[in-house]
Assembly symmetry: C2
Homo-oligomer: 510 residues x 2
Amino acid sequence: MNLKKIKRAIISVSDKSDLKLILPTLKKFKIEIISSGGTFKKIKKMKYKCIEVSDYTGFSEMLDGRVKTLHPKIHAGILNIRKKSSHKKDLKRQNIPNIDLVIVDLYPFEKNLEKKSKKLIEYIDIGGPTLIRSAAKNFNDVTVISNIKDYLKLSKELRTNKGSTSIKFRKIMSSKAFGLTAYYDSVISNWLNEELNIKFPENETVYGKLIQKLRYGENPHQEGYLYKINNNSEIKKIHGKNLSYNNYTDIYSALSILKTFKGKGTIIIKHGNPCGASEEKNQIDSFDNALMCDPISAFGGIVAINSTVTKKLALKLSKNFFEAIISKDFRTDALKILKKRKNIILIVCKKFDLKNKKHYLFLGNAFLSQNTNEILINNKLRVVTKKKPSPSQLKSLKFAFNICKYVKSNAIVLVNNKSTIGIGAGQPSRLDSCKIASNKAYEFIPEKLTNSVAASDAFFPFPDGIQELVESGVKGIIQPGGSVNDKDIIRAANDAGISMVFTGTRHFKH
Amino acid sequence: MNLKKIKRAIISVSDKSDLKLILPTLKKFKIEIISSGGTFKKIKKMKYKCIEVSDYTGFSEMLDGRVKTLHPKIHAGILNIRKKSSHKKDLKRQNIPNIDLVIVDLYPFEKNLEKKSKKLIEYIDIGGPTLIRSAAKNFNDVTVISNIKDYLKLSKELRTNKGSTSIKFRKIMSSKAFGLTAYYDSVISNWLNEELNIKFPENETVYGKLIQKLRYGENPHQEGYLYKINNNSEIKKIHGKNLSYNNYTDIYSALSILKTFKGKGTIIIKHGNPCGASEEKNQIDSFDNALMCDPISAFGGIVAINSTVTKKLALKLSKNFFEAIISKDFRTDALKILKKRKNIILIVCKKFDLKNKKHYLFLGNAFLSQNTNEILINNKLRVVTKKKPSPSQLKSLKFAFNICKYVKSNAIVLVNNKSTIGIGAGQPSRLDSCKIASNKAYEFIPEKLTNSVAASDAFFPFPDGIQELVESGVKGIIQPGGSVNDKDIIRAANDAGISMVFTGTRHFKH
């Protein structure tokens, strides 16, 4: 157990609301309290005994509180190794008593960052992290409480052990303390880097706050948890079972595409890939077209809609089995229809503003950091065939290329107007992706293959893919270009009398 | 510019090797130096003037150096806002001079963690981070140098500005300082969490050290960088061009599979998915079989081999176009052959010990954290058909299920003996994955379809997938089971007279 008696505590907290949970216990075990500023006043007001830090150290608080506890009498009292005789001697010589308990939280930097507070720098706490870190380092002798949620745990621990704490408790509290200081400085560091436009610093830290335990991870034998980095997006579940790991990845994929749409849009996602996408003048057409692209794969998928779901749409939605529906909002009569299915997940998403500039990919003991892929076409489009695309065909081509960006590589997307009619995803061979995309279209909407267009996320290595698409009825192709065989590929398009445009921009996604 | 004159510096560093780069400049501009312990001795030995911290504060160093600089005279000297008259008064009253420059590094905690040092806790620096954070907070007035690599930059800055520093310089140095303290505490926090088996803490931070700028990110218009979390794996490039973002992801996929092999193994990866995998008694058969699975997709792929590449294998390898070859080692004569291609990437990987217990997936403003998927089969295998698999078939089934775990979902893997003969990856419909896998086998090695086995990463929703596989010649199937239609699915297998085993363990991968 390695129980350690607590005789003296230092308390300095921003959030004073729950001090009542801990002060009676400290009093019960005759624990002396040192405090400062607002915390001191609050404790006195609550009629508990308390010594002010400046009286304790003999050094008056200065610089509007910037320097209060940064004093050797405080830190030697915390940091000394109790069983070490040389440390004991040091303390005796300087007449420094032990401090066995540190209850400290930190100035709310992150909250003020979110509020865009002007005096942000004043919220960078110096004394607080130092107290927390001193106590956390010396967990063998000292107890640190860095979270208001742990007051009751401390109270219980002290009552159980008659004024002492166990090593297990101290070590857990120490790990929480370093978790907090790491998180705190990571927020500050990322803020400064963003201010200075430093995207790839030498020492990178990524922080997140635990939001929710998920049903499980990617698979049932894996545990999974959701962490939030910031509050840029607002998705609110209003009905149905808890969101799973795979729900979150699918929702993220859906909303990433949807936020690029200006018209009424529908996206259906299965296993991270879109299996239907459509942008139309009205939400019914949009949904019908998205579903038509692959009604079999859509089964059990996630639907995202960037407009308010009406009763008419709800009736259509309810005729299919979807795991989740995300929408800008739901009309009351629409909700009534959809809620009949107890398990269906309904989510309102009013804002989905992914301002993150970086993306991290974890590979075991390393990670890759890169700019998020925010560009669709870097350069001007270049028409490379004799046949030029018509204005409406050009719109379809751009729509197809945009969807293609969000499909796993190698990706081929067939489009009619502004709706997908065949999606070929995730194949090591581009030709196979062409075949999958055109087979899908043949299967469900062959009539739309005539006058369709195709997009490829990267260049065609050989003309075979072009030929496959042309045979299916494709009349225009959009692709980055840049193959050593571009000449042959352009010739194949010219021979078929179709139009082809080069974007110069590749969109691998893995 | 907001230039700030430096009159007084505090220096306290673990790594004293480069002090010579900065001391002459400090002397030139008559900057007073405060220092302590080993740094003080070193500076004196180098014949520069220096005041010892304890003389400066009037408080002697104690607790074996645990408390040295944690003193208000030091921190008020750093933290005061120079232009604020109340701060000026505070300083005057206490007779505290300004400290304008802080040169501090931190006790090498991470290095000692890697060395498994017994006195690890002694390497948790308290005074150092506090000095760095004080100075970094007050960047408007104070310069902080927290990295030995910045000594020359400081020297140059002081010489350019005649003993002053610009606000831009101070702010950049401040961001580096918080980057360091965040990283430092993240290492400590993650260590403590691991010690206590806390996998999903409330405040999570992930840290990495920048290793290398990559050619570009996932696409040429994205910047990409590699960060290392720890030194668990050793991959060493011995020939060829620099590794790209996509090379790293493919290598990671290849080695993740390869480390599960006991025999001589070959893995070929394209776009993150295996397009050939084989485990055999000798490396030549293993390579031949892996390549045969899909020789077209293998073009431009990554090959990973868990044995030493011989001359014979090198001759075979050199007949194909691979972007990279990763191997346990290369014989000298093998290297000679392979190095003829200037651009081919050759990598030696002696150890690939992914001990990471967690995996993070980034979704813009949030991330998902989960246990890595380290299990293949959680429970006992359950034979559900009348026909029981033979011992050799059972080996094939397990091999197929293991490969399937690393193929993007929905995944179907066809195997003959211990070599893949068809891989269907990344489809929203499981039936499509079945078709892709069997079409591949038909295309390249139809003779091996007879007596083949198949694995599915998740249950079959309907019997159609089973029928598709049976028609192709599959004689045994391994899958998690758990569909509402399992009864029909088992019946389909029984009707076809094949064996089927349930694993109870699903392996989605997205």
